[in-house]
């Protein structure tokens, strides 16, 4: 199955960039496979949609903020169950909105499955390129979860 693993985050916003750190580690552990692309993105909504168009399966690795989980927890979501979860900013639409728009327009190249590996973080408000201790410790777990997703494709 044509698959893309996409780390999403901002490299200069501390824990926000954890998805990028996970991807770096996945690249080292995952053997080259012509069906699997591995990439990173510091963007959301429509741009993200452009990046996942044409793939059957998408594994998004991203920071998530959740009230009831502590930083460093790693969660697996399926996009359909998590319509409220999305990567966006106030100037863009969310990925979920971008997807429903694309469906509305009759696009046929949309992924069949979107898995989100979410690492729980506290929202960062200060610039920095280091991860917090808790979130750094979560990286290997997230990497394992991504590799296990790839095994089942």
């Amino acid at each position: 199955m044509k698959t893309i693993v996409l780390g999403v985050g901002n490299p200069i916003l501390q824990d926000d960039g954890v998805g990028l750190h996970v991807i770096e580690a996945v690249r080292k552990k995952h053997l080259a496979d012509p069906d699997v692309s591995i990439d990173t993105a510091c963007t959301g909504g429509l741009n993200l949609l452009d990046m996942i168009r044409g793939y059957e399966k998408v594994i998004l690795v991203d920071a998530v903020t959740r009230e009831h989980d502590s930083p460093g927890a790693v969660k697996r979501f399926i996009m359909q169950d998590a319509a409220s979860l999305h990567s966006s900013n106030p100037h863009d639409v969310s990925l979920a909105e971008a997807l429903s728009l694309a469906k509305e327009l009759g696009e046929t190249q949309l992924p069949k499955e979107i898995i989100i590996i979410g690492i729980v973080v506290r929202r960062a408000l200060d610039f920095g390129d280091q991860l917090s201790k808790e979130v750094k410790r979560a990286v290997p777990t997230a990497v394992r979860m991504v590799l296990s997703e790839l095994k089942h494709t």
Binding site: I12, L13, D16, T43, N89, H91, L125
Partner: protein, 485 residues
């Protein structure tokens, strides 16, 4: 006005919050918009390699990576005392046009436009692109998606990478254009030009032919008489990439015109205890609180700021639209906040016309695209981001490392005006203690016109900007909370 003690309000960490204080009549005494500001960039930048700044700063904002990229690149040109070759400047400007094309299309159809196209009183669930499709039709939506993607593609071809360009270097750019790319860009630009004209026609049909909307645009709660600021070329026409910063007053007279590097002589920043945001103002007038009018140094930037600060647009068709907008809205300066939307569409048309000029220029394929740099020092770079004047100010040490970096971003330039617009919109919908249902809509329309980018560098899930309004009575008791996530 009574002195306000802002004890229920703490400086904000987290989501967007509007705090409204009522007086003892139940009318709005004051309103504050608080937005999470990302902090510590100056410290973060210290000690980094100067040539990395265009890449690093393009991550500050998820909305204007291209604007930051080139403000940084221009600051480096100045710091390394190098003038880029003509072709490099044209390539940068062409890339910049691509950015304006996708950014302005996105804003009109996805963010600001739905308020008009679907209607200001429609439920929020409908005031989005899907509501626009319902109203304007699926074929229009396909064109929207296509042309936004063209803008992105133009920036990707020229910038070497989608969304975050990697081409800007002190003294020029790292990547030129080959003939095949020129042809692709020409075709896309031509199509975008047609689409820009179509969009202005749509604005005409849906907004300008509807008296209720025109009345709303011209209504008091959406009017602010501030100074205006924007970059202009030597004929005082709007320019995004280069030129002098011009300031005009409430009658449209020029009050200042200066080079970007002199900004600190003209602009200072005021700090309010309730916000992390800084409030820039004109030094010559001074800070006299959150008021408009001649005696307040607050100014506006962005499409309407540029519209008022300039004498016209540098391209033919956009200039015709410029004149039409001024005539329709009672002459310059246009002080109607909601007219930002119209000015933005005129800029979209300009960007396609200017892109056409640049891509048809034979010099665009020149291979002389970089000049050697000199010794590092201090440098300031200014561009017009889609949402207003953006200033990067660096000092570089002898080893080429950043000693000091100061940034004034577009939304900060608009901070005072946005706060006043939010307050005035709230005043319009809260009377004698009765809070009209449309409060959130009306307030959102007020700040959305500016297309602000608040702390938007974050991509953390869930995204978006949940908005909460807290209304306090005159005894500072919380009366009502309205929120939308």
């Amino acid at each position: 006005m009574k002195t306000i003690t802002i004890d229920p309000v703490t400086r904000l960490e987290g989501h967007g919050k509007i705090t409204i204080f009522l007086d003892n009549q139940g009318d709005v005494e004051n309103a504050y918009l608080q937005i999470p500001e990302l902090r510590g960039f100056e410290r973060f930048a210290q000690g980094r390699r100067a040539e990395d700044m265009p890449q690093i700063t393009s991550r500050i904002c998820g909305v204007c990576p291209v604007a930051h990229h080139f403000a940084a690149t221009k600051a480096l040109d100045a710091a390394f005392k190098v003038e880029p070759p003509t072709a490099a400047k044209k390539l940068r400007e062409l890339l910049y046009c691509g950015y304006l094309i996708y950014d302005h299309i996105l804003h009109f159809y996805f963010l600001g436009g739905p308020d008009f196209v679907v209607g200001p009183d429609a439920p929020p669930g409908k005031r989005n692109i899907l509501g626009v499709i319902e109203k304007a039709g699926i074929d229009v939506a396909k064109e929207v998606i296509k042309h936004r993607a063209y803008g992105q593609k133009i920036t990707a071809i020229l910038g070497g990478k989608a969304t975050h360009p990697v081409c800007g270097l002190p003294g020029g750019v790292s990547k030129g254009l080959v003939n095949d790319e020129v042809k692709d860009i020409k075709d896309m630009v031509a199509s975008c030009h047609g689409f820009a004209k179509f969009t202005l026609g749509l604005f005409d049909d849906i907004v300008l032919k509807n008296k209720a909307y025109v009345d709303l645009i011209r209504s008091d709660p959406y009017t602010l008489k501030t100074y205006n600021m924007g970059l202009v070329d030597k004929h005082n026409k709007v320019n995004f990439y280069d030129g002098l910063i011009r300031v005009t007053d409430q009658e449209g007279n020029e009050t200042a015109k200066f080079e970007g590097k002199e900004y600190a002589t003209h602009v200072a920043e005021h700090v309010e205890e309730w916000s992390y945001m800084k409030f820039p103002y004109l030094k010559s007038i001074g800070w006299h609180g959150l008021h408009d009018g001649k005696n307040s140094g607050i100014y506006r930037v962005g499409p309407l700021g540029r519209f008022n600060a300039a004498d016209g647009m540098a391209t033919h068709e956009a200039n015709k639209e410029y004149t039409r907008m001024a005539d329709t809205l009672g002459g310059k300066p246009v002080n109607s906040t909601l007219a930002f939307h119209w000015a933005r569409l005129i800029e979209l048309l300009y960007a396609t016309e200017r892109a056409k000029e640049l891509i048809e220029d034979p010099a665009i394929t020149s291979t002389h695209i970089r000049n050697p740099v000199g010794e590092p020092g201090e440098g300031i770079g200014v561009v017009e981001a889609a949402r207003g004047t953006l200033i990067h100010d660096y000092a570089i040490d002898n080893n080429g490392l950043v000693k000091r970096a100061n940034l004034i971003v577009a939304t900060t330039n608009n901070a005072g005006a946005i706060t006043m617009s939010v307050r005035d919109a709230a005043k319009g919908v809260i009377k004698k203690g009765v809070v009209n249902d449309g409060l959130l809509n009306k307030v959102e329309m007020a700040f959305r016109a500016y297309d602000p980018c608040f702390g938007c560098a974050t991509h953390t899930l869930p995204g978006g900007m949940p908005l909460t309004v807290n209304i306090y009575d005159h005894k500072r008791n919380l009366r009502q909370t309205i929120s939308r996530s």
